[in-house]
Amino acid sequence: MVINSNFNISKISQWSYAETSIAPLVVFRIIFGLMMFVGILRFWLKGWIHDFFIQPDHFFHYFGFEWVKPMGEFGMYTIFGLLLISSLSIALGLFYRASSILFFVLFTYVELIDVTNYLNHYYFISLVSFLMCFLPANRSFSLDIWNNHEKILKSIPNWTIGILKFQLGLVYFFSGIAKLNYDWLFDAMPMSIWLQAKMHWPILGSLFTEKWMAYSCSWAACIFDLTVAFFLLSKRYRPIAYFVLVIFHVITGLMFPIGMFPWIMILATLIFFSPDFHEKIIAFIRLIFNLKQATSSGHNSLALAGFKKKFLTGFLLTYVFFQMLFPFRYLLYPGDLFWTEQGYRFSWRVMLIEKAGTAFFYVTDPETGNRGEVNNCDFLTPNQEKMMATQPDLILQYAHIIKEEVESRDLKNPIINAEVYVTLNGSRSKLFIDPEVDLTTLQDNFKPKDWILDN
């Protein structure tokens, strides 16, 4: 068990390299590949490739990734085509290594194009597909070993499955930690707003306006997130924990527009179940498709020694510690995290706050003193405008987008101010950033943004 009461590195290391059945990893590979295929196809069919990557005139960049640009219509559809093919190849275990690397690189590229599309779920997919590049998930029940039986592995080291359980557990645990705040626990916000919006649901709707209901849901969600991973690790509580998990995801899936995420989590967390369980799944698939059991030479092992083992251990430890520390970087910034959003992303803050903003940008011609309000839809899609209006780094980027635009139209050195009103969890709309500051004089960096006004 990863979490042991007497925490001991050497014990964990010993456990990590001990062998276990490959079956859970194989089933995970199939599920992951198929879910990605469905997810990418759904994205395509909804026309989002066009809406997100072709239609916008401007894109919001991640700090340090300004060089990532969309590829135009043909390029983007090609990339999504390759994503479809590689996800299916992952499921089939065909050219697995190349497919998983291709999928990780392309998926991450697509996510890096525009910050306004950021979702924790996409970050999660990037991380899992990154891990999958290193895992021997094609070494059993795959097309790669169809005619290459000596490559078959029956057992693999525990870390290969453990790292995926860690990644999954982390998502729940940290989204639980994120809920440990005053608004969520003691004000039932924004749960009250969300439930209120569902007051016309049959049966439950009438309860959704009750304050106690909002508190119950807030607390239940928080406790669920904090504990579910541990219960899934315990053999005794696993079935009941999984049952609760399914109910939780189905409810959130019905309540919120979170797309594929609930279904991905429901299926992905099957990895917590025993090797027996997964071997039965594989046997069942064999039965349906009438596939023969390949016989292996049986003595293959991935056991590593010496430098390679040390390197792998170092890599795994680095990954794990980075994942556990990175969400806490917000502590380095002053002010209310939910207000300033400095260190907010990549930290599993899922369905946590209700924030809305209205941003009025003003351009002043320094020569004539002429000042006018920018028509945001001249430059941004409605979705980009909405996302920008509550996130300071994006507000700053937008000011620079405007500057570039007006300078290309021969207005040099414009002064750009923004009057932004933001409401957080139903609180009074307040001025978000200093409306006097000329945003063109600022550059984005990791330092605290002192032009964000106090909440």
């Binding site: 809406d51 209120q196 119950s216 504990t227 797309g259 809305a356 011609d365 001249d378 009103y421 009074r428």
Partner: protein, 365 residues
């Protein structure tokens, strides 16, 4: 741990399974709003506008260029039609938003292109359906032809039959579109009322977004742009009074006022028959929405802001071009109040109605 687990399960069980008996309180639902809006507001307003265009057409057919009274009556019918347009401009979805219909671009594209109108009339060879003629037709074109000179001069000009014919063509170009919309609403009405959910193409989304859009058109195109408070592609533009709506007939503030009143009635749910039915106001009440912009109820806050804006617009004693030049501070004050409404709609109302702006999935940031 065990207690925690049981607690979790208990709460989730409560969340999932507990139910109450039928609710005694009568609930107001979005379908009630859509029904009232469709039957008592949208459909009758379109048919009023359609009738106004018919009247205008009749007036044009009966026009006698030797009689001042005939011109005056034509001018009056035109203004009536323009005021009537203000009541339907917020409904550019469904039939009105179809690519071959696009009422706003085809009917109220201002400022109008004087020289293009003149050359069209002179060459007597034009296709009003091409996009390059958007700025040479519709109500702004009639505004120009019917008001750009003194009445005596106009009477002389209008002796030229091609000018009158051009107006007739403009009217029939509008009328065919509006006829289509009126007929199409027969079938679309049930689609509109029966729509559920809050995705991009739901009635909730369409209704909300075009309500907001129409309001922002008043604030920006009809007000800020001529007053010099706006930008074009980021470039601040100087005041230009020729950009007002209803420039030649000097009706800009009257039209803005009518537009605001139309949105206010829509907000309150007041039908064309004067009956106060279910509007956005009632929905906000139902959701106990609280304003984040001013103290108190959101439903009241928006209603009050409509009253404030209307009062300020009606306070001007002259036409907007005159006020922009001679009374910019009051114009600025009015602009500020028009602006104040935006976060009430864009932040608050949108939150309470959970209108999706996001095209894709969300995880709630």
């Amino acid at each position: 741990m065990k207690t925690l687990k049981s607690f979790t399960i208990f709460l989730l069980a409560v969340t999932s399974f507990v139910s109450c008996g039928p609710d005694a309180i009568e609930e107001v639902e979005f379908s009630d709003l859509f029904q009232n809006v469709a039957d008592n507001i949208i459909v009758p307003r379109y048919s009023n506008f359609d009738n106004a265009l018919s009247d205008l057409n009749l007036e044009l057919n009966n026009f006698n260029n030797s009689e001042l009274s005939s011109l005056e009556s034509l001018q009056q019918k035109f203004i009536d039609t323009y005021l009537s347009w203000q009541t339907v401009s917020a409904f550019e979805f469904g039939p009105a938003g179809e690519i071959s219909v696009l009422l706003r671009s085809n009917i109220n594209n201002f400022p109008t292109d004087e020289s293009r109108i003149e050359s069209n009339i002179q060459n007597n060879d034009y296709n009003l359906d091409v996009a390059s003629n958007y700025s040479a037709k519709g109500l702004p074109a009639l505004d120009y032809i019917l008001f750009h000179a003194s009445q005596d001069e106009l009477l002389m000009e209008l002796a030229d039959e091609s000018r009158v014919n051009y107006m007739k063509d403009c009217v029939s170009n509008m009328k065919s579109r509006v006829d289509y919309v009126v007929n199409a609403w027969d079938a679309y009405r049930n689609v509109f009322v029966g729509s559920e959910g809050n995705d991009q193409n739901s009635s909730l989304s369409l209704f909300f977004n075009y309500f907001l859009y129409d309001y922002e058109q008043i604030k920006r195109n009809k007000f800020a742009l001529p007053a010099g408070f706006a930008t074009e592609y980021g470039i601040p533009i100087s005041m230009d009074t020729s950009k007002v709506e209803g420039l030649y007939s000097a009706t800009s503030l009257e039209l803005i006022s009518a537009n605001l009143r139309a949105l206010e009635d829509l907000y309150l749910g007041v039908g064309e028959n004067g009956v106060d039915g279910i509007g956005i106001y009632e929905m906000l009440k139902e959701y106990n929405a609280v304003s984040t912009v001013v103290e108190g109820d959101l439903s009241e806050a928006i209603a009050n802001q409509f009253v404030i804006c209307k009062e300020l617009v009606n306070e001007f004693s002259n036409d907007l071009p005159y006020e922009i030049i001679n009374n910019i501070s009051q114009v600025q004050e009015t602009s500020n109040e028009l602006q104040k409404m935006v976060p009430m709609i864009k932040n608050d109302m949108r939150s309470y109605f959970s209108v999706t702006v996001t095209l894709g999935d969300s995880d709630g940031d």
